[in-house]
Symmetry: C2
Subunit: 417 residues, 2 copies
């Protein structure tokens, strides 16, 4: 794609309308600290989906839902044989999530549609705005299940069978909230773009408004259970204990140390931990915990995998614990499509926004879409790099800038021969 | 008390009947692994209380309940002016508790009454068998609240106000299950004995059938909250993290290290831990945990207190976390009443049981009773020293032996001038 001027170069989205939509969506599941709790397939998730559908239909789109609950709002193209240019993200949130993670990508897509409508612009390829089911992975593990099934990474049966901690399944919850649709799974996609907050500190620290995302770092998720012997805390001498939590403490520190040892780029996190029986005067007999490893280099990630396996084994042996370590999910480091990255670059430059290349630290639905379509991403800064937190924050100006880049990147891909 | 022969020296309890009662009580809240889950003031606790009341009334006792839900089953004495000789323990259990912890002391008391009835023996002082409310402290912290209020250690308001994790109070739950009684709180007690499984490995390792308990080690409970910054696990570089769980891991290891450093006798345990937000891909922003320290020496316990305060401060500073450390409960090391210990010794010797002196590692209602009455305890072995576990186990022979010692110790105190 050459550096020629963009078609409709001066076209701009309505930043005020985008911001208003973001704030209205954020009222659904709003938390006292200014964040959002809209867990996947909860009643609040349904409310968010209903509102999205209402807005899209008002904007003239037809909305379909597939068997994974993924929602597709389509604006027709001039050439009905062309595969749609998609954009989207998710409306589910972390338990204590923010207003922008996911919702920004969805509502930026809607704002693109509204802008095309306002300006009477027709495109060769159809445009689609997608809401992917259960991106966060906090209610149902792993993350990105909706786009995972759409892209053929998981089977529909796998997707429907995933359970939350109360044993409720995705299939059951989709039925319950009325979002088990009938649209065929996995239709062709001409190109996929996803706009998102960075969720890290790089753009802000570098005073750049747009991150041109070159790819996504690799990721591995583990589930580890350490089993010892529960016993009385006041009568069981220290030397004979098999305290699963003391072992878990060693593991938490090992995960942290491994992340640090693979800096820059390495991340190691224990985010979830469950104790059994979790009573003040009982030595913990069993601990379940999750590990999240990331690295932009697959080679480094493979080393991290070796290291945690060795450390877990050593810790279990040291404390006479039984070890069960399962790698439950992973994807390798990924480079986005050259044309899509070029389209984002050209849109950013011609709109005049400061920018830099960036690798995504987070997984996104774009990871799975990249298996079935040319894919690119656009990042905007978030305050202090903080995300997955109720205080997650972005500015109206940056949200507007990212949406303008999305508009022009999509237009460029929609109208190319 | 001299070494003269016991009155009714050849009197023995019915070990088969005692065992049958233990097994029948253990059916209430029975778990698949052979243990018991009968949390304080739950419906199952009410069922256990109802059964105890039925048995005591069938044995001719009058049963009264005080405003803390403590139950007193009284067998009259010849001299109505004498304060009762009490025995008892508790019927509540850990979430994954055993059949003997608490229930043994209560039902051994009932077996003493039944034996006196069978043999037409009357005593000068009345006998009382007591069920103390919420000894375990696992549903409502701290432990031993019923005996704590009876002994004036806590006020009735404090006792009633204690909340479980769902915000339900002891006062409310007593009312709900019908055990908010009207008997006056804290009547005089002539002497108090408590029979209990050891909950530790000492008697078994030493092949002794009876532990003559000389006292109880001191104990401190803490609640600690570490607060950092929750943030995205894939995009927050390791050096800028404020991971509350990494701090907690350091604390868990510090507690374990402090317990070990004060061996023999020292115990340090983190038994409960709660993470916020407890999501796989979120750096934990807040961790709440409990610490349980024990030592037979108050001096050592004071050192352990200093050490955990210093370590907590250092860990919080190292990981840029906010620290909230609360000492929520403690009692100093305790020596039981000389006459009561002598009565237990004499009963054990004259019944011909192998025995040794022992310090209780666990807290028991006897700790608070010792503030208002001469008090002693009798331990029997438990398999592998394991307690607060569904596999907790004791033998019918040891249960019978402990109950015979209880019978003769109570008789000796009831009939002395």
């Amino acid at each position: 794609m050459s550096e020629e001027a963009l078609p409709n170069k001066n076209l701009r989205i309505d930043g005020t309308r985008l911001w208003r939509s973001l704030m209205e969506m954020a009222e659904i599941g709003a938390t006292p600290k200014g964040g959002v709790c809209r867990l996947a397939l909860s009643d609040l998730d349904k409310q968010g989906r209903d509102l999205f559908r209402e807005w899209c239909e008002a904007a003239g789109c037809s909305v379909t839902v597939d068997a994974m609950g993924n929602m597709f709002a389509r604006r027709p193209g001039l050439d009905p044989k062309r595969a749609p240019i998609q954009t989207g993200s998710h409306l589910d949130s972390q338990p204590t999530g923010g207003k922008f993670d996911g919702a920004y990508g969805v509502l930026a897509g809607l704002e693109v549609i509204r802008t095309l409508n306002d300006n009477g612009i027709e495109t060769e390829a159809p445009f689609e705005v997608v809401v992917w089911t259960n991106e966060e992975g906090s209610r149902f593990a792993p993350a990105m299940i909706g786009s995972g099934v759409f892209s053929g990474t998981f089977s529909l049966e796998e997707g429907h069978g995933k359970q939350d901690k109360d044993g409720k399944t995705i299939g059951g919850e989709l039925t319950r909230i009325g979002y088990l649709g009938t649209a065929p799974l996995g239709h062709p996609v001409g190109a996929y773009f996803e706009a998102h907050i960075e969720q890290g500190p790089i753009l802000e620290a570098d005073s750049k408004q747009i991150g041109i995302v070159s790819g996504v770092q690799g990721q591995i998720w583990y589930e580890i259970t350490l089993t010892g012997q529960e016993s009385h805390s006041g009568t069981t001498p220290m030397p004979v204990r098999r305290d699963a939590l003391v072992g878990a403490a060693g593991l938490i520190e090992a995960v942290n140390r491994i992340g640090q040892a693979h800096e820059p780029g390495g991340c190691g996190t224990v985010g979830m931990l469950q104790l059994h029986p979790n009573s003040r005067n009982v030595i913990p007999g069993k601990v379940f915990l999750t590990v999240d490893f990331r690295h932009p280099s697959d080679q480094a990630l493979a080393l991290m995998d070796q290291e945690i396996r060795a450390e877990s084994r050593a810790i279990a042996d040291k404390h006479s614990l039984d070890l069960d370590l399962q790698k439950i999910w992973s994807f390798p480091a990924l480079e986005f499509d050259h044309d899509c990255v070029a389209a984002v670059t050209r849109a950013t430059t011609q709109c005049g926004y400061s920018n830099r290349a960036i690798v995504s630290g987070a997984g996104h639905d774009a990871v799975y879409l990249s298996k079935v379509a040319p894919t690119g991403m656009i990042f905007i800064p978030c305050a202090d790099g903080i995300s997955h937190n109720e205080i997650e924050s972005a500015t109206p100006e940056d949200a507007e800038a990212g949406c303008n880049v999305l508009l022009h990147a999509m237009l460029a891909m929609a109208d190319r021969d």
